[in-house]
Structures are given as C-alpha cells and as structure tokens.
Symmetry: D2
Subunit: 334 residues, 4 copies
C-alpha cells in the first residue's frame, strides 16, 4: 500500500516540481496541502489531473495519515509550520533555508531575521545524502540543501578532504543559476524583459548560501569567494570553481578522487574527457562534475552542474524522503 505524503507550497516552482516528480513515484500518494488562500486561482499550475487537497494543518496530518510533509515554502513559513507538523507525527523535509544552519544565531546573521523556532536547527539533519546518508534515514526533520551549496559541496568536499587544495591561495566559486531559483513570486528582477538578453551578479561576497558551503566543505569563510549570477534560462546551475592544486600531478589525480568518493553514488557523474554543461543535467537528479588542471602551474578548474529544481530542490527532497521512509534511494528519480 502506498504511503501518504503532503506538499505545502505546491504552487511554487520547487513545489510544482515535487508534484511532477512524485507522479512517477511508485510508493507514495501525494496530498496537496493548502496553506494560504490564493486570491487568484488562475495562478495555480494546472495539475493535469484530479488531485486530493486538504488544509496544511496538524489535523490533516492525523486525519490523512501523512507519513511525511514537504515544505516548499519560504523560511518564515517553514519555521511556523514545521514544529506543528512534527508534533502531529509527520516527518518533515523542508526545502527552505530555515533549518540548514546548525545554530539559530548563524541563521540570524545570514538571513537577517531572528529564528522563530530556535530549538529545531539543532535537531535537523542536513539532507545531502552523499555526505549524511546514515543520519537522514532516522531523521524527523530534514533540511534540504540549498541549490548553490549542493553543486559546490559535491565538487569541493572531496578535494578539501583529500588535501589537494592550496587553501592559502583562496578558492573561487563563480556560480550561475537559471531564473527559477528565484521562485515564482513576480518581481521586476525576474521579469522577462529584465532577464532576457542580460546577465548580472548579485549578493556578491554576501550570499546566504555561503555558510552552507563552509559547513559541508570544511573551508573557512576567508578562504572562499562566492558569487551568484543570474542566467537568462529557466533552470540549471553551473559553478566554475578555481583553486591552486597541490600534491597532484595531473587531471587524472583529481578525477580519481571524485571517482573514488562517488563510485557507488547513483546521482553524481564524473566526466572523464570533457566538461559538463547545463543541458546535460536538465530535468535530472544528477550532479555532473568535470576538471581541468594545468599541471605545470597547479591552476585548477572544476565545473559542477545540477538542475536547480531537481538535485537542487525537489529531486534531492525526494531522495531524502526515499531514505527516510525506507524506499530505494533512486525510486522515482531515474
């Protein structure tokens, strides 16, 4: 019998992607959970078929027998809903930044608002399966990683851990994202006429995703220069990472570190002969990684690619659900 899961925020891009992907999942039935009255009903993405709806309340969790609830909501909504959903007995996979940082003060610094559920970050498990798989399985509250940190950490952590980065020279992560990463709420910044035929940087040296990268990769804040930039495309992230390599003699050495680390991972692909592009990972849950090294000087470039709505949001959330509910990790994702 199928397990029942709820989705709050199904009107947004990440939430709608969750609905779309879970339609292919053999073991769960989705209940759409209405959080707010939306005055303009026409803005609800056509679900394409009849779907079960209910209010996003603890009572629904009980009445519907929900095993797990996805919160595809802004951080302030997640801080409000997560405690109630947990108390009602559901596991929670939260796609916002509310519970990713281990300590509430760190949240306050980067998100520039106080944390309204400060008891929870300490309990939450960071949902990057490639590094936290065992803890995810038993977690009540899973903090689904940010899109930029997912691509960055999968590329950086193995190299940092292997000691092949000369950290004294600093590391650069030049990140580019499609517009869906900014969410579905209309704004001038994401209007077609402002984005098309344009490209721009934002939150330079001050992006709220930076502490997640530091937390997982093991780098220090002073070592990492991170820039987010807006690509005139719908979906996809490509990060170009620069560092000075040491203790390696050629590209194969770097590729070997990745291959060793990810040889049993279903959702990381190491590119041997060329660099990945955004198209190749589109609508997949893969993180694609490639490397260039100039052996003589140690200059190294890593390119890491994901689909921000899949491995960077809804796909990884389902991967986490699969781990938490005991399904095969790849169910619904290949």
């Amino acid at each position: 019998m199928k397990r029942r899961v709820g989705i709050v925020g199904f009107r947004g891009y990440s939430g709608a992607e969750l609905v779309r992907l879970l339609d292919r999942h053999a073991q769960v039935k989705v209940i759409l959970l209405d959080h707010r009255e939306d005055s303009d009903i026409s803005q609800i993405p056509a679900p394409g078929k009849q779907r079960q709806r209910a209010a996003a309340t603890p009572e629904t969790v009980t009445a519907q027998g929900l095993d797990l609830v996805f919160l595809a909501t802004p951080a302030e909504v997640s801080m409000d809903l997560a405690p109630a959903m947990l108390r009602a007995g559901a596991r929670v996979v939260d796609l916002s930044g509310a519970f990713r940082l281990r300590e509430a003060p760190s949240y306050s610094r980067w998100y520039k608002e106080p944390h309204s559920a400060p008891e929870l970050p300490g309990e939450a498990v960071y949902g990057l399966p490639e590094f936290c798989r065992s803890r995810i399985a038993g977690a009540r509250l899973i903090a689904n990683p940010g899109c930029y940190p997912t691509a960055a950490n999968l590329a950086l952590q193995p190299l940092v851990a292997s000691g092949v980065i000369d950290r004294s020279a600093g590391i650069v992560c030049d990140a580019k994202s499609g517009v869906s990463g900014a969410g579905r709420k209309p704004s001038l910044k994401t209007s077609f006429c402002e984005v098309a035929e344009n490209f721009s940087a934002y939150s330079v040296l001050d992006h709220r995703h930076v502490p997640e990268i530091l937390m997982v990769s093991g780098l220090e804040e002073a070592e990492l220069s991170f820039t987010a930039q807006l690509l005139p495309i719908h979906r996809g992230i490509l990060e170009t990472i620069y560092f000075r390599a040491r203790n390696v003699t050629n590209s194969s050495d770097l590729l070997g570190i990745y291959s060793q680390k990810y040889k049993d991972e279903p959702f990381v692909r190491v590119f041997e002969n060329r660099l990945p592009d955004i198209r190749g990972a589109e609508q997949t849950n893969f993180c694609d990684i490639g490397v260039r090294l100039d052996a003589a000087t140690g200059r190294a470039v890593v390119v890491s690619v994901i689909d921000n709505l899949v491995k960077g949001a809804a796909g990884q959330a389902i991967q986490n659900m699969n781990l938490a509910l005991g399904f095969p990790e790849t169910e619904g994702l290949l």
Copy 2:
C-alpha cells in the same frame, strides 16, 4: 533655443524609450515628471546622466514652460492628468488608450470601466501620421495609437480603401508581440519562467485594440478576427494578415497599392522581394510590410512588422510631437 517637454511615466518601458530616443533629438529638452512616489527607488532605470526632474503638476507646466507633455501612463492616470495639463497650456501626447476611441461609451465597452474625462475623446486627434497628419499639427490632445493597431492599420487601410479585399469572406489578423508590450509592472504572466520557451494567445476575439483597427481600417467588427499572442522576445510585433483578394492579378498589384500610398512616407517600408521579420525593424520607427498572393485562388497574406516600443509607442509619439511643434517629422527618429 530648445523647446521643453515633459514625460510622465518615464519608469515604464514606453516612457524609458521616450527618454532614450529624445536624447538624440536636437530641438527639445526633456523634464522628467514624477507622478507617484516610488517606494523602491532602485527600480528607476538608470538614466545614464543627470536629468531634470519635477512634479507632474499643472504648476510645473507653467513654471518650466513646457510646450508638450507625454503621458506614458495607464489610461486611468491619463484621464486624470490630461485635463489639468491641457488647462495649464501644454499640448498632450497620450500613449494610453484613454482618448483613442472617439466616444466615451465605446471606451467603456472595450476598457470595461467608465471614462472619467468624457469631454476629451471628442477633441482628441488620433495620432497615426500616415492618415491624420494635417489634423495632428494643430491638435492640443493627441491620442497615440496602440501598438497592434499601428501595424494592422498601416497594412489594412490601403487595401480596404482600394477595394481589393473580399470582405464577405472575413479578414484574419494573427498578431504576435514581444513582452515589453505588457508593460514593466511585474506579473506572473510576464515572468521569465512563464514566458521563455512558451507561446500563448490571449484576449482572443475580445482585445481592446480591436475598435482602433476598425475605426481606421474601415472594417466592420464582424469582418475581422483578431488574436493577440505573446512572443518570448523583448520587443517587436509581427502581424500575419489573411484575406481573399479580388480585382488583382498578382502580388505586384498589392505592392503597387502600398507603394502608391506610402511613396512619400518616411516610416513605412514596402518589401518587394521578401517578407519582413521582427529583427529588421528592431529599434527603428519603421513599419515594414510584405505580401504574398496566390493569384489562382486569391488567397493573400500580408506581413506587417513594427517595434512595439518605437513605431508602436515612443517613436510614433515623437513623430506626433514633431508634427505638433513644427519640427521636421523625422527629427530624432532616423
């Protein structure tokens, strides 16, 4: 000495285009007129240089000695501001739909709201220079045409007047516009992720620009099927017009009608050998027209192209200003 003109609505796409184009105009100095406090100052398009600003009031007209005011504002704002500006002694070129239809009840029908300055539509002159040039010169209030009607009427009127359209079979105008035609105000409909890699029809058989097309072309409502559609591009309109031809034997006959009508017009280009595309008219004040006729069956196709922000808005508004203030008609537009 330069004449002084004001622009209300300079933050919008048409208003910003007016500012940009008037920078090249040798005979006017522009004053930006603030109509509303904009809470988010960052949303003002970078003017690129120091510009004179003043309040959008009748007092400013007097104090600054404004000869003419452009209203690049929504219809309800134009209905509010135009009477006051006129009383203060300025000519007005209004880019909204407020004064295009000759009678206030017609406005109410198509714009679905009462007209709040019902004495003015009767006085206003419709600002399509190719058909109303002499009246524009002496006008106090010029109603700048809609973007779709400009492309449609320049293509249709000469054919209707020449009697080469079999009106009993009906005329189709299938129109496609870039996103800037929907204005700068953020909305889901004009968000990048909704528009990119998409194409859709809207206001089918019920677009408020229809009465303008009927008014100028001479067609009856029952004869014309007009559809507006949203192209995933920034700017440009292409209309594909279909009709059954009569009294002509080949494409040259139709081209001849256009050439005769427009031989002295600076802003209409008749394409002899190929059909125009949107790129060719981009950032110009031209309307490009081409024709295909199947002589055996009388099936005829006309393609009419403009840049919706230039000939469809700001460029034509300047052309009207040039006529109204006695400048060379092409000043600042070639």
Copy 3:
C-alpha cells in the same frame, strides 16, 4: 522477451528523442544504426550509457533480428533505405516526408524532386492513429505524419467532417514552430543570433506540409491558407486556426464535437475553459485543443498545440510502433 528495434538517424533531434523516449519503453531494446560515417564524432549526442551499434543495412536487420526500423532521416535517405529494410523483413516507421503523400507525382510537386521509390507511397499507411488506427496495426511501412499536419488535422478533421465550417469563406491556419523542427544540421537560419529575439514567416502559401493537411482534413487547396513561422524556442508548435462557423450556437457545440471524437483517445486533450499554450504540452505526446467562438458573427478560433519532437515526430512514431507490434498504445509515452 524484449523486441528489437533499430533507429537510423539517431544523431538528429527526432532520432535522439526516439532514443530518449524508448529508454522508458518496457518492451523494446534499441539498436543504433549507423548510416553515414560522421567525421566529427563529438557531434554525437551523449547517449548517457553504453548502447548497441550496428550498420544500417539489411544484413543487420537479419543478424540482429530487428522487428522494426525507425528512419529518422531526410526523405532522400528514407527513399533509399526503406525498400531494403522492408525486403529484409523489418517493419519501417519513416519520420520523413517520403511516403506520406499517396502518389509519387504529388511528392514531386511539393518536395521538388522525383520520388526514387515510387512503388512504396501506395503501400504506406499514414501514421495518424486517431484516424488510421486499424490500418496501422497491419502495416509494413508507416509514414509518420509531419509535425504541422498533426496539430492541424487533429483540430480540423472533426470540424470539417461535422459540417460546422463555412468552407466558402476559407480557413486560415497560422502555425508557429520551435527551431528543432528545422533539424540539427547547422545553418544560418537556425543560428542562435539569427533566431533569438526574432520571429519570421517562411514557405508562405507554399509549405510542403500543406498536402498532408488537405489529405486528412478533407479541405481543398483553395480553401486553406497555411503559414509556417519560426519561434525563438527549442520545441513546440502552436497553430491558430480561423474559420467561419455554421450550424453551431456556442463554443460548447464545437467543444462537444471534439469531446465526442476524442473521448477515448489517450493523446488528445480538449480544453474546456481556457486555451492551451506551448508549455503545457512540452515533452508530452499530447495534442491540446481549445476553442473560442463569437456566436453572433460565427467567427471561430481554434488553438492546437503539440510538442513537435514528440506528438509531432518521435512520440507519434512510438505510438505507431506500439500499434504495429501489438504493445499497449500508450506504452512508454505517459
């Protein structure tokens, strides 16, 4: 045990889409058939996994036990390969225009070259399942429909058959297609810088897909005005169809005709309350149809949408294969 099928032309957009879609098909195993040495091996789309390859020869059909071969090739290649593949015992689904028209002279007129396998068009079955399902099941050679005709015929045929179109007034089909419809071979016409921020008409009143529309819809050449236009998007077709309705009193009458005709069809969706857009059918095998009627005047607009690479090419080809090999018609397509 899985049946074995071959694909010639798997480097092209339609062929690559066949490979991608058949990866989800439970009952066939794909063999990629090399027709020409491609000098630039880098241009082969990354298949993402190891795939079986063989030469596109009759010997391969026998040696590999191929039940069916897809020809995703230009018409001249299909005319060359189809006879040999048929003789070797494989069924053939041809995605080109080589065998769609019933008579070789008609091919010569519209494709402007002689037919090099003139004995085959008479045998070929036109692969539009909604109208030719029973004949497809037994066919040796299936001519997969063109992309434009698929969207046009599914919209037009039921209306023509029902007698609700006033054919004396003519029918307009204004069609817009994404760039992948032009194929993968590089050309200036499909270069990014020529297509982006542009829109243009081509083959006006002279498109080779016209005879397919006439053949299935039952219209006469003199009655139909068809224009193809290039949208700056990757994939998708939207056709806006105009006609004068008779014998109907409101939109529901037209919708009723479609609902009656397509009530058991898995791949046609009739839109009751709004018009379809390109996004909604993207990467699906659906044809989405919506209607607007002005009852007072009889002016009617139908919007028909498909993904040109799926229902307009590879998806429909698989639907035909499913019928020909006795699989469930929707296998691999939902």
Copy 4:
C-alpha cells in the same frame, strides 16, 4: 569632404556592426569590399540602403582613394590582405587576432598555425586607446584588441600597476560572452537549439585571448586563470574577476584607482554604488566597471562589462580609426 574607408568582411557580425555604426559617422564614406564570391547571396545582411561595392584589392585602394581599410576577417585572411592593403597606401585596422601578439612565434603557439606575414606583428600597434593612444595616432597597422582582453585589461591593468593585487595568490577571470562572439558562420555550437537554455565553458585554461591579457595587464601566465563561457544571449560580455587585495582598506580605494586612471576617458564608466550588468552596456562603446571588497579578508571581486560587438570589436575599431585619421575620438560612438 568625407574620407573614404573600406570594410572587408561586412557580412560577418563585426563587419555588419561596423557598417551600422559608420552610418552615424559624419566624416567617412564607407565602401564595402568584396573578398570572396558568396554563393548564397541571400545571406548578405540587408544593408537597408544602396551602398557602394568594390573588390577587396590594392587596386581598389588606389582607385577609390581609400584612407583606411577595416579587416573584419578571419586571421588567415587578414594575414593575406593586410600587406597588400598597406603597400597600396591604406592604413589598416585589423579586427582578427593576426597582429595582436608582438612576435610571430607567440602567434604560432596560441593560434596553432604559422604566421604567414611574420614581418608585420612587430610593426602593428595594439589598438587599446586607453593604454596606447599616442602610438595609435601614427600607426599604419592597428591590431584591434580581442573582446575578452578588452574587458579584462581595462579592469586589471590599473590594479596591477597600482600594486594592490596580491599576485602570489593568483587572479581568476571568469568570462561569459554572448553568441555573436563566435562569428556568423553556422556551426552546431552556435545553433539555437544547442545554445538556448544552456550554458557551457570552453577553451578552459587554454584560450587564445590569454596572451593578450598578459601582454597588457602585466600579469604572468602562471598567475592568471581564465575561463571563457557561452551565454544564451546575442551580444555582451561580463567578466567576474577575483583576487586578493593588499594595501587597500575599502572598496573606495579600488574605485579611486579606476577613477583616477579613467577620469578623462570617454568610454570607461566606473560604477560607484552597484555592479554593472550586460544590458547597461548593450549597443554602446562603454566598458562598465564595478567593485566589491571584503575589507577584513581582502577578497575582492571586479565586474567588467562590454558589448562584444562594439567596444569588443567594431566600436573600438572606429575609435582607433578616429585616432588614426585625426577625427574626434568619440565621433559616431556616442
């Protein structure tokens, strides 16, 4: 009386931009010089008006009295044509990479072919006016800079010269360019369907523009990591430059260096309060530069933007022509 100048390669994107920009130049008359018979005459961009044409030969230089010839041609064509044009008495502004590097062996290394006019690189003057203005005025042969190096050098040189970059930590230049930078010749890499909704890196650590950056900026090859990447837009370059700053205490110190260096430059704009984006420099000859510095750690980010077809090609070529022929430097460019 107007001076006469010729353009070879006017069909390409840079050449067509030269034609377009020179239409606004008050002091020159353009002669289009045909270098190769183009079999497909339809591919010539519509010049929009009657233009004078002649063969691209030394005889034309003499017969037409050409003062200067622009070579908007591939390097191998420029190496062939430049000597002959110079001997015929014309000055030459070459837009290819043929004469940018001072020594022919360096050309051979980076362009991977021998130099066929090895006597010329030593004579050529590098046409970056902000750094080589005085020598450009008297030059016979001007090597117009590459697009990427123009944005990079205007941003890097003042900082390197001021000693505020900790060069031991390395410098990263992450560059993104619109598709027109790849030229007008059709190729799969620049096809709409390959570029749209995609983003990719190329020539990583091995781009032929690197030596130009080293030559002007004063950096060593081992110090600079340069990556070129393809943006799904028509035109524009944005480079994000990372380094470790020293001897400065805040962003103003870096801005001050730029302001001091460029205070009299007509085509460099220093952004005080925000970072530039690609749109802001579109269709202008400006290079826009902005800065972010984290004072505590010295991490610095510079964003440098140009339009690759204007300041990165045709506009800068005209700026060089203005210097060489004694016109005001900004003529035709503001």
